[in-house]
Amino acid sequence: MTSIIGEIEHDAVTEILNIAVGQAAASLSRLVEDEVTLSVPFVEFLSPDQSAIRLDEATGGGLSVAVRQEFHSSFSGDILLIFPERKSLDLVRSMLADTVPLDQLTELEQEALIEVGNIILNACLGSLANQLGLTIESSLPTYVCGRGASILDSKNVESELVMFLQVDFSVAAKGVRGYLAFVMDIVSAHSFAATVSAYVARVMAG
């Protein structure tokens, strides 16, 4: 699957996403008022099945919660921010502790996660768009909960692939770790690769 892009483009994607994810991590850090350590994203192009397995491994086989947004540009798909379900309330607590009475936190958990997702996914997509010189439209965020395959919700496992970022948004003091995934069909993945190639050519040309 990595053959969908060349070696230089793969490096460029990693760099572009590093910057985008850095922007997202900065947003998360301000939200939770805590340091967010960020591992270097290792970008892989996987099939939906492989991605689901990877996700279940990463979350220890437990339930995950995710915020999903559709995005549309010269390439389209879904972007997901994924957290282990058992940790999601900790994240919400650290974000809303000063704002909301403790007994209302559980009730607001889902809405709060959607807002976290909205901020982080838009920071990531926005940085991606600004770097590549594109406009990316995105849908309103939605909440999903389940195991890997249902979280990724691939419409067609034969023709889709997942740009899977092993991004650790580790909120140091809270032990919360999140992941990012882009789900695109093959056509969109090729458009994305072409956009990155054009970006590399522009950068090389100065």
Partner: protein, 123 residues
Amino acid sequence: MTDMTILLVDDSRVARMMTGAAIMRLRPNWRIVEAASGEEALAAAAAAAPDFVLMDVNMPGIGGMAAATYLRRDYPQAAISLLTANIQDPIREQADRIGVGFLIKPLREDALAHFLDSREDPS
């Protein structure tokens, strides 16, 4: 300092709670009016004549950009700013074109304070 009315527009209840809490810390006497969509914002503005407006962009219905455009036209004295997670350059440029500010989520308290200072009576 004259107490003012601020209209807070966001389809996320959590986002309204977070922004509302920050406003209350900085301006405890101000009146905060909330709306959950662009359409609601127009109706709320007609009733409350806000001095300040903070407007999310990505919302169901007409969305925040259109609502901000209408409010800019109808309330030329009001300080209006987008408050959005969408950091893309075209959104920032559009805010500039329609004559409203641009604040990004998560909202920094110093950025909010700067916005709230932007049209207060110096007396």
